[in-house]
């Protein structure tokens, strides 16, 4: 894989995987 593909893969998976985790945490994480 080229460095460009690797960086892009991390960005996309970060956006959707990270985004999904972020919103799940917002929904179910410990409330203040």
């Amino acid at each position: 894989m080229t460095p460009g593909s690797i960086v892009f893969m991390i960005l996309i998976l970060g956006l959707y995987g990270g985004g999904f985790a972020f919103f799940m945490n917002k929904a179910f994480g410990a409330k203040k």
Binding site: M9, F20, M24, K26, A27
Partner: protein
């Protein structure tokens, strides 16, 4: 007298699982990887991300807001939200969702059949070539007893779950199916990316050919994928949101469903593309697989590739189980659209379920019998869903975009404030619709030079407009009957307007 729904999702996770189950369907598994590969890989993913924020998420939020305000199925919701003379709009939403349900149950049946085949060890051994799997696929399609039987099995599964109700049926089942689906697809992905040469598939998926973004096709495909994959504008999430509690958040739930949907597509793509590129004997064979359409990719090529994969027999079972879960969890939401509308008319859930599922089975039989008929229905109601999206955006604009955002989306229990970007996206929606709808219609005219108007061809604009026209005329004729048929909900636009006029007077 105004009534509230007595049934509700018992937990927030239950609603989210049902919502993701609704959104994630066969399209995530077989369309997402194929369309991504055909449209510049990474470039398509960038366009899809834009489409998610311009099309899918705004529309899903709009659906949930309408449902929460009216607490009725599509017909009653549009009667109360838009006014009595627009009741037919709710009828249209139900018609299109059920139009999809009739053939989608057949597709779900295919996935069950392939799960059974994989359990029997069909996709193992050196003799399993694409020619053999193509023959298995065509033989299956040409055996109506089988296609109708498996269509019946999927509809029976849907009937049992929906009959049990929201908490004991939909919530209980999707809380198991959706997380399992994530795990199963992840297992197939791990197997795919650890195959020798898998990187070729990943390069194809994640190389951002940015010049592709200068063309129009990638954008149109991305917006179409966002609409069809997330279920935005289908009124399926609108139906489920009727059963949420008053204090339930809309915005974060909506983002979870939207992001979860794309995430499943990405996992499926990372499972399928490396497998295809690693195990195909030549790069041309891999490209032939990716260009062979949804059914060809999965039921012909991938099935054959499982036979070449170490541990492929087990991977095939896991994959087809995941595919069946994806299909069946979406089918549930389509059945519920019909059932909720009948319940709003005073029917018991059990009776409504039996009528919808028996009708669903019978009307689905022609699609099980003929792939051309199924393709025609997929074309007509698939594009019809874009119109449903347009109608939902118009409904929001008619009521007041800012009013909905301030009162219904950003309510006291919201976990996240939705900014004015949402209002902007809803307002530009008709223009976005015109471009996508115009593109599909224009393309289909090119498929049938000189014959595009014919109503009995598989993919003509003529067949779309003919079937929509018949449906719309019947619905408009029945407008008042439908308006009186549905019980009152929790909100009535006309009653509210009269009350405020009296107050002012």
């Amino acid at each position: 007298m105004q009534q509230k729904k007595s049934e509700t999702f018992a937990t927030r996770f239950g609603f989210i699982a049902a919502g993701i189950g609704m959104a994630v369907g066969t399209g995530n598994v077989w369309r997402f990887p194929r369309v991504t590969a055909a449209n510049g890989g990474g470039a398509f993913l960038i366009a899809l991300t834009v489409a998610m924020f311009v099309y899918a998420i705004p529309l899903l939020l709009a659906e949930m807001a309408i449902a929460r305000k009216t607490r009725l199925g599509t017909i009653g919701a549009m009667r109360d939200f838009m006014g009595k003379k627009f009741t037919w709009v709710g009828g249209w939403l139900a018609l299109v969702a059920l139009g999809v349900m009739f053939y989608y149950s057949v597709v779900a049946g295919w996935t069950i059949k392939y799960l059974v085949l994989s359990l029997q060890g069909t996709f193992s051994g050196p003799d399993i070539t694409p020619e053999v799997t193509e023959s298995i696929w065509l033989t299956f399609l040409d055996t109506p007893v089988q296609t109708i039987l498996f269509h019946g099995v999927s509809m029976l599964f849907g009937a049992i779950v929906i009959y049990k109700g929201v908490t004991a049926g939909i919530e209980k089942v999707t809380k198991i199916m959706v997380p399992t689906l994530f795990v199963l697809l992840t297992l197939v992905m791990i197997r795919g990316v650890t195959l020798p040469g898998a990187a070729d598939g990943l390069v194809f998926l994640f190389t951002p050919n940015l010049e592709v973004l200068l063309g129009s096709r990638v954008w149109l495909e991305a917006f179409t994928q966002a609409a069809w994959s997330t279920g935005a504008g289908w009124a399926l999430l609108m139906t489920y949101a009727v059963y949420t509690k008053d204090e339930e958040d809309l915005s974060v739930n909506c983002f979870i469903i939207g992001f979860g949907d794309v995430l499943v597509g990405l996992i499926a793509a990372m499972a399928i593309l490396p497998t295809v590129y690693s195990l195909s004997p030549t790069i041309e064979a891999a490209q032939a697989a990716m260009g062979s359409g949804n059914n060809g990719l999965i039921f012909v090529y991938l099935s054959a590739l499982f036979a070449r994969m170490p541990g492929g027999t087990i991977v095939a079972v896991i994959f087809f189980l995941a595919l069946a879960f994806a299909a069946l969890s979406s089918l549930l939401s389509m059945i519920e659209v019909g059932v909720l509308n009948l319940m709003d008319a005073g029917w018991e859930r059990g009776k409504a379920t039996i009528y919808v599922c028996v009708a669903g089975f019978l009307v689905g039989v022609p699609s099980a019998y003929s792939i051309n008929f199924l393709d025609n229905q997929d074309w007509v109601w698939g594009v019809g869903l874009l119109i449903s999206g347009l109608l939902i955006s118009v409904a929001i604009m008619k009521y007041g975009v800012e009013k909905v955002r301030n009162e219904d989306i950003n309510h006291a229990h919201s976990d996240m404030v939705i900014g004015p970007w949402w209002s902007f996206m809803i307002r530009i929606f008709p223009a976005v619709f015109a471009v996508i709808f115009g593109w599909w219609t224009w393309q289909s005219i090119g498929w049938y030079p000189g014959e595009w108007w014919k109503p009995f061809e598989v993919f003509t604009p003529g067949t779309m407009f003919f079937q929509w026209g018949v449906g719309a005329i019947i619905l408009i004729a029945l407008n008042d009957k439908m308006a009186n048929w549905i019980r009152p909900g929790t909100f009535d636009l006309e009653a509210q307007s009269q009350a405020s006029m009296k107050k002012e007077g």
